[in-house]
Symmetry: C2
Subunit: 388 residues, 2 copies
């Protein structure tokens, strides 16, 4: 392998690919990134793969001699990032010693590699169901729900986000057993605006669950995309592949059938409160300072005489707090208690001025939803039982 490429392109690609390199690899080669240079296509392809998430990026290179090698991702990434960005780089592999020489304007570096044969193959399915998705919608579907998934590895499927494709839309959902976030998007399929014709066929309903850890990387990946840029999406044999221009992400799906969460959502509510979202967040953040000292519990007391809500917390032996907020109220006075951290996480993904809290009692699921928007989102939270 021998090639020349630009420092800045190699640097960007290495930073992205490194996101799929395990910090605690189970095998030494998994700490490495795979470099594949192809003289016929004039491309250098970088691959990082932690056996669950894989990221592959190709960049232009003037390839003198094709070849493959794996190099320590962290070391290579740090050296390349510190090289001057007007410097062309030369990478030269000595096949006998598996040493790679990296030559820049200012200096020369030798790195010991490991042979490419030891690197696991990326499961690049390009068969099965194939869709062309809108990257901005896909990013929203991930961002709005991911936070509600479980971080407890023992909870398996709940550590992921469930995506149900149906017609032209998608429903994205995540729950950790205490709260549930659901976003509905009418149309996540890529719609070619130029001819103003929706030439995509509708597709059969199907559902997959993808690990939140990997989806966080997909979301970070999509954040570099232009608005509404198309992403190709393939699903087959327990694998999902996202492809956009020279970039590929593969994710192993989580097996099993996701809980039927829609049955948890109450069909009607006897009580509603309408808040200014930012005011509610500010009050909760102050109250959280004290609530976090004890058990994170805050109590919401709605008084329909005054149309004032009091948010209170008691941290035994430390102190107590009480915030007052004006609300629009549509029921009798009532009390309900929550984990303040759950509320803050959910309220922060909703980007509207007002927000509605709907519930039936202090012991049945409550739902937060945005008002005055076509953002079709609900955030269900189980209340905490309190003794009066």
């Amino acid at each position: 392998m021998k090639l020349n490429c630009s420092q800045s392109e190699l640097n960007i690609a290495l930073q992205l690919v490194s996101r799929a390199v395990s910090a605690r690899p189970t095998h030494p080669v998994l700490a490495n990134v795979l470099l594949t240079a192809d003289a016929s296509t004039g491309k250098l392809c970088l691959t990082g793969f932690d056996l669950s998430l894989g990221i592959q990026i190709s960049l232009h290179a003037s390839v003198e001699k094709s070849g493959q090698i794996t190099l320590p991702a962290k070391l290579l990434g740090e050296i390349v990032s510190k090289l001057s960005n007007d410097s062309p780089l030369c990478l030269n592999l000595d096949e006998n010693s598996q040493q790679v020489e990296l030559i820049s304007k200012s200096g020369t570096y030798q790195m010991r590699g490991m042979i490419a044969d030891d690197f696991p193959d990326l499961p690049l399915v390009e068969t099965g169901t194939a869709l062309e998705l809108n990257s901005t919608f896909l990013s929203n579907a991930i961002k709005s729900t991911l936070f509600a998934s479980s971080t407890d590895e023992a909870k398996q499927l709940l550590t992921g986000v469930n995506l149900t494709f149906n017609g032209k839309g998608v429903e994205s959902a995540a729950t950790d057993g205490h709260r549930l976030a659901v976003l509905n998007l009418d149309n996540i399929l890529y719609d070619k605006n130029d001819d103003n014709e929706n030439n995509i066929d509708e597709f059969e309903k199907f559902s997959i669950t993808l690990p939140s850890k990997s989806l966080r990387e997909v979301e970070r990946f999509l954040s570099n995309f232009a608005n509404n840029q198309p992403v190709n999406f393939f699903i087959d044999k327990g694998q999902v592949v996202f492809i956009a221009s020279d970039q590929v992400i593969t994710i192993r799906t989580l097996d099993g059938s996701y809980p039927n969460y829609s049955q948890l959502i109450p069909e009607s509510f006897s009580k509603t409160l309408t808040f200014d979202r930012k005011e509610l967040i500010s009050s909760l953040e102050r109250i959280a300072v004290l609530a976090d000292q004890h058990n994170n519990v805050i109590k919401i007391s709605a008084d329909n005489d005054s149309n004032i809500v009091k948010i209170t917390t008691e941290a035994q032996d430390i102190g107590s707090g009480s915030e007052s907020l004006p609300v629009v109220m549509n029921s009798e006075s009532f009390q309900i208690a929550f984990n303040v951290r759950y509320l803050l996480e959910g309220l922060k993904v909703i980007d509207t001025t007002t927000i509605q809290l709907s519930c039936n009692s202090a012991t049945t699921p409550a739902v937060f939803s945005p008002l005055d928007t076509n953002f079709n989102f609900i955030y269900l939270v189980m209340p905490i039982q309190i003794r009066n």
Copy 2:
């Protein structure tokens, strides 16, 4: 105690004072900040004290009833920081329960305090040697040398910065046994520019050593000051006190006589290399990526035929690196090796375009010093012995 004050003033004061509150207090009251309200002066005084470093700040308050109480620094700081900054605050102490009520526009907080009698007295010497110092010069004296002090608590005096006042100047020095930074300032005394007359008497030579941990806070403190603002400085009975307007810092000095470091500095040098400082830093930062993998050692090889310096490192089983730099050279070819982290720390405090490395051999102290400046600084580093 009962008073009204502004959220923003209280917030700034609490953040500053909290720097002197221990994260791991040896006694519960040391996790608290002392609040002293005085109706006669119309001031609220906040004090944080970890038994070594003390910070005291006074702010205007409309004090209805004088009194004292200590409150948990972290809790109070977090709540106040999150309150809206246009909100006047009321603090109200119930002397029987030691509960403080904090009332803002949006809410009310109760916090359990501890009585002020348990809080240790701040050693506020205002006797002994008294000087009026220039805050900008004092800040420079700390910043330029502090990094070279030891972080090993067993090394006692070497965990501090030594300040030797003499005439109108100060010499600031720090060493951890492997390297030594020394800055000389001709005149650190405050010079009243308005009448263009230096009306300060010279003072007798004396030397103190102050803990680096505390000086880091002094430096942070001074960074809020206007350029060349005066600071009053008192030294007595193992204590140093800095006073500026409504702010007081006290530091316990480190006892013992600081090593006679000046005898370590060679009087003459047979070899000198002149570098572009930024180029040298960039090269060292790249080489450090590999050097850090092994033992941080880099080798500088100066060749007087080419006037090129090669900086190299070998990380066994991982790789090696070599950087080339043009230099102005004034001796035969030679080699010398250093800990790359020591070099980078020292080069970063010198703010000049060019820098000179002076040495006599690969085993005797080398000195880095700025060129073309009246910044009177030297950085001595012990080389690392290498086998060829």
